[in-house]
């Protein structure tokens, strides 16, 4: 049973956090000339461990970027902040979800950051089509799980 956790509407924190995400995407473009898509960055980093066709070769900054992502919540905790998080507890469902997210972003060449933030900022119609598709799929999936199945 998936319990719905109520969350507060946080327009200012979300806007501020969004601007930081955008700033990072601009840093990656200005410094490395690349799209800051996390799926693509992960694939490039993964390509250093296992053979992966089509993975990017410039792995140095990609590994460092992922370490930076991992360091972020620890930095917030170290400076006395709090990180609020409720992760679904149905582990088989989380395994299936992870698999779908991995396969889907590899096949679709991008995720919320690559197609969403960077693609929309480039005014790419291909990215807009991807964003419309994954948003629609997300809305339908949550509707079916919560309002048809009554939770996982």
């Amino acid at each position: 049973m998936q319990i719905v956790t109520q969350t507060a509407f946080t327009p200012w924190a979300s806007l501020g956090g969004g601007i930081l995400i955008g700033l990072s995407a601009v840093m990656v473009m200005a410094l490395f000339g690349r799209i800051a898509g996390i799926a693509g960055i992960s694939q490039g980093a993964l390509g250093a461990i296992v053979p992966l066709q089509g993975a990017a070769r410039d792995r140095d900054w990609r590994w460092a970027f992922l370490l930076g992502l991992l360091a972020a919540p620890l930095a917030i905790l170290a400076f006395g902040g709090s990180v609020v998080q409720t992760v679904p507890q149905n582990l088989p469902a989380m395994g299936i979800a992870g698999l779908l997210v991995g396969v889907g972003t590899a096949l679709g060449s991008g995720c919320t950051s690559g197609h969403g933030v960077c693609g929309l900022a480039r005014l790419s119609r291909r990215s807009l089509a991807a964003v419309a598709t994954f948003m629609a799929a997300g809305f339908v999936t949550v509707f079916v799980i919560r309002h048809v199945m009554g939770g996982l």
Binding site: S24, P73, A93, M94, V101, T105, A121, R126, T141
Partner: protein, 146 residues
Amino acid sequence: MRILWGFLSGLVFGLGLVISGMSDPAKVLNFLDLAGSWDPSLAFVMGGATITTFLGYRMAWRRPAPVLDTSFDIPTNRRIDRPLLTGAALFGIGWGIGGFCPGPAFTALPLLAPGTLVFVPAMLVGLWIGARIKARGLSDMKGASA
């Protein structure tokens, strides 16, 4: 230099994810729950990030080349094809089940929630499988293409 700036870029991205609430699956799932406990916060995340990137990219592209690399590498594919839409649909379903997309899943990893510890390895396996399917072509794949 590349390592240091790569790390800092990732750190800023991760701080943005945590501060914005995007790294909390409960918030993501509530954003996707239009018919229930809808939380519109994530529209502000996407808006703030996309507008900042739109403006910043145009400043970055005024230079002939990026600071730490030889050339800009920007996707040139414009085709709205079957792998794109099938992949995006599969991703959206997984996003709706778990409340994680790739970035937030990584930032959530050090907090060691059991759901995250299952999700991230499964996602990495998925990325590997997806890359293989894409490389082999989609001719023999029966997908729910939109």
